[in-house]
């Protein structure tokens, strides 16, 4: 189908039809229902076919890095929630890990397990919502989104009970977590994990074999593996292109080395693969969650205040140095680069935002496809503008 379309485009290009054609420049966004926030794509269209696409961003820019360089380390934690506001727990984890690396803090086991549980729950939340929104971009009238949100609510309830806030969790602390998980909450999580496969099955029946979904997604927005690696694409998008790279496996940070799980790989790197890899990743996340919930043991949830810098969290002063911490956030590699000059505030604080860098290949993926495909491809990249614009 893709080949056929390319042929058609060529005919228009050659101008042999003798018709006086004109390209159409359309600004999709910043106020557009499916740019996932205030993102703009300046698209040049020939009929319905995308000739060029220029992403324009920065509408939500707040100079997050500058803010973080002017406040204490721990005060940055709530700001990281606002990066990718779907996945505050993984953002917290990345930031906490980076600072712990810098300050050489050992984290107790229970805290690590709690972090893993939280970030895997976050992955579930993110992936279901992304798939829902992707279908919305395709024109489904909110049903997948609302089904996804139905399940997401259950996870958010746990987040609220644990951290106090549904989305802006601000739950992790340097050296552990803010509060312990009670047995009650663990039971709640266990129930969610037990119920989730049924929902995934329902979701899959609703979408995976649906002919319209297949038509819209398969062989659309193909991202070859070489380009994906070259353009530093990470996360499910990279794995959908068939590259086996998951930081949970590569770095084995936290306690991920203690779990048995697999990495699903895509075949062609099109929108359908990106969608389906996310479905499979959720099933793997459930495996991790099951194991983590089994292995978690009572114990301290905060590191003992041994390093001097941890004595008083308000006066947290890591030693002079720098660190780059990265985690496999649901959207890709979320990295924090921090340079400390030994004072209360970081000298340099940089966020390597996955959805920002994943946008690099947007134009390459969209050219030659239709306008409707461009929207779907954007949806399949999975961007959050809080993270793109920072």
């Amino acid at each position: 189908m893709f080949e056929k379309m390319r042929v058609k485009t060529k005919v228009i290009d050659s101008g042999k039809s003798g018709l006086d054609t004109q390209t159409l420049e359309v600004n999709v966004g910043p106020q557009h229902p499916s740019t996932h926030g205030v993102f703009r794509m300046t698209i040049v269209l020939d009929g319905e076919v995308v000739k060029s696409l220029r992403p324009v961003m920065g509408y939500l820019h707040r100079n997050h890095e500058q803010i973080a360089e002017n406040i204490t380390y721990s005060a940055s934690m709530p700001y990281t929630d606002r990066l990718d506001y779907f996945n505050s727990m993984s953002n917290n984890q990345a930031w906490a890990m980076t600072v712990e690396q810098l300050a050489e803090v050992e984290i107790p086991d229970r805290a690590e397990y709690i972090r893993v549980i939280m970030s895997e729950l976050t992955r579930l939340v993110n992936h279901v919502s992304v798939i829902g929104f992707l279908l919305n971009d395709m024109g489904a009238f909110f049903t997948p989104t609302l089904f996804a949100f139905r399940e997401r609510e259950k996870v958010l309830d746990v987040f609220e009970a644990v951290s106090g806030s549904r989305m802006m969790c601000n739950y992790l602390r340097f050296g552990g977590v803010n509060r312990d998980l009670t047995d009650d909450q663990l039971g709640q999580i266990k129930k969610i994990v037990a119920d989730f496969p049924a929902f995934l099955d329902e979701f899959e029946t609703l979408l995976a074999q649906n002919e319209i979904v297949c038509m819209r997604c398969q062989n659309v927005g193909v991202l070859p593996a070489e380009l994906a690696i070259n353009a530093s694409i990470t996360g499910p998008m990279l794995r959908a292109s068939g590259v086996n790279y998951d930081i949970r496996k590569v770095d084995q940070y936290s306690v991920y080395d203690r779990f048995e799980f697999k990495i699903p790989l895509g075949e062609k790197g099109d929108v359908y693969d990106r969608y389906y890899v996310r479905m499979l990743e959720m099933r793997e996340s459930l495996k991790i969650l099951n194991q983590a919930l089994e292995q978690i043991e009572p114990g301290p949830f905060m590191a003992p205040k041994v390093p001097a810098c941890l004595k008083n969290p308000r006066n947290f002063k890591p030693p002079v140095g720098e660190a780059y911490g990265r985690v496999e956030a649901p959207k890709g590699e979320l990295g924090f680069y921090v340079v400390s000059d030994g004072s209360k505030e970081p000298w340099r604080y940089h966020v390597r935002a996955p959805s920002f860098i994943n946008l690099t290949v947007l134009e390459a993926m969209c050219i030659g496809y239709k306008l409707a495909d461009a929207i779907v491809i954007l949806g399949s990249i999975d961007i959050v503008l809080g993270e793109v614009d920072r």
Binding site: M1, K4, M5, L24, E25, V26, H32, P33, S34, L45, E48, L135, N136, D137, M138, G139, A140, F141, F142, T143, L146, F147, R150, L206, Q209, N210, E211, I212, V213, C214, M215, R216, Q218, N219, N244, K249, K262, I263, P264, L265, G266, E267, K268, Y272, D273, Y276, V277, L280, E284, K370, L371, A372, D373, I375
Partner: protein
């Protein structure tokens, strides 16, 4: 009960006959029909919006509107008031005349089609002997209105929507008419009343293989004709904001909605008439049967909307030209075969099975021919 509305009309006409000369009676008879339709159309539209919101909400595990009145029954009124008092915005560079005319030109044909719908026994406003032709002709006029709206708005998204809409309407008109041909062959008349009469005693055409296929094709094309999901490309909100009515607000916007819902109703009504036996049915009054069947079909439309994402524009065209059109042509052949084999009886095994086999075979063949549109099976390796 069955003839309730007919009797009311007759009583009104009789009343005027007593007082006024004869020609007034004719005028009253016409006026009653017109008033009834002019009231029915918007009323149906208003409550369809409520039904749509309720049904889709239920499918999405929500309750739906329930604030205005019991079960939200007054919601359409509240919406109407809101629409009326909203500011009417006309873009500065818009073609003001076209911008104004377009919504009117869309609503008028949608309302006109009601004239040939047989709502019940003896309840067709105008029993045209070319009813089906009238229906096909009038319902395609809406395209002009849509394109006028698109062009008059002077908005790129609108133009894209308008172009999509024109291409879509013209393409779907053909399989739609082609799928009606078997019915005309079977009945031998273009009159809607005659078609319904021909389906008496459970001889609904949908129970025959060609009738079933024709019904599906007609209904799908009808859904495409009235721009409803999954064929709502002309107003695809996720791609081109709202398509041709991006630049409309207030009551003009409401008129587009009204046209869409009224044509959804007429399409369902026409499918009922052509294939589902119209107002034919046991026990219940005829008009109730008509509305039941029609709302059943409308429920399917809403069901589509709640389930399916929309097609892409080239896939939409491909579906019409490469799939529905050949299938509807084969369907005509199948009808002929059925006619020869059935020998005036409604059901004979041979007459049933041979066209069925033909249709299944051609369906399978078209699937093979349209391989690029078929879903691929993928294997996802799980690695460490």
């Amino acid at each position: 009960m069955d003839q309730m509305f007919v009797n009311i009309k007759a009583a009104l006409v009789g009343l005027s006959d007593k007082v006024f000369p004869d020609w007034v009676g004719v005028l009253v008879s016409i006026a009653v029909s017109i008033v009834a339709i002019a009231l029915l159309g918007p009323l149906i539209m208003m409550y369809l919006t409520l039904i749509e919101r309720k049904v889709v909400a239920r499918m999405q595990n929500r309750i739906g509107p329930n604030r205005v009145g019991k079960y939200g029954l007054l919601q359409p009124l509240a919406d109407g008031v809101k629409m009326l008092i909203k500011e009417d915005i006309v873009p500065r560079n818009a073609d003001k005349v076209l911008h104004l005319l377009a919504p009117i030109l869309i609503v008028a044909p949608a309302l006109l089609v009601f004239a040939v719908l047989p709502f019940g026994r003896n309840m067709t406003a105008v029993d045209l002997n070319v009813g089906i032709l009238f229906f096909a002709a009038i319902s395609s006029i809406g395209t002009i209105g849509i394109f006028m709206a698109a062009w008059g708005s002077n908005n790129k998204f609108s133009v894209l929507g308008g172009m999509r809409s024109v291409a879509q309407m013209i393409s779907y008109e053909i399989p739609m008419v082609m799928s009606v041909v078997p019915v005309l062959l079977a009945v031998g008349s273009l009159s809607t009343n005659a078609i319904v009469e021909a389906q008496a005693d459970w001889h609904w055409f949908v129970f025959t293989p060609w009738g079933f296929l024709g019904c599906v094709i007609f209904f799908l094309c009808g859904v495409a004709e009235c721009n409803r999901s999954p064929f709502d490309l002309a107003e695809a909100e996720s791609e081109i904001i709202a398509g041709f009515h991006t630049e409309y607000s207030g009551m003009k916007f409401a008129l587009f909605y009204m046209a869409e819902f009224m044509s959804a109703f007429t399409i369902s009504g026409m499918t009922t008439t052509l294939f589902l036996g119209g107002w034919q049915g046991p026990l219940l009054p005829s008009w109730l049967w008509f509305f039941l069947k029609t709302y059943g079909l409308i429920f399917i439309m809403l069901w589509f909307r709640a389930t399916l994402p929309r097609l892409r524009v080239d896939q939409l065209m491909a579906l019409a030209w490469k799939f529905l059109l050949p299938l509807s042509l084969v369907n005509i052949v199948a009808t002929c075969i059925w006619h020869f084999l059935s020998d005036e009886a409604f059901f004979t095994p041979a007459a049933f099975l041979v066209p069925l086999a033909l249709l299944v075979f051609s369906y399978w063949g078209l699937m093979k021919l349209n391989q690029p549109y078929m879903p691929e099976k993928r294997v996802y390796p799980l690695v460490d």
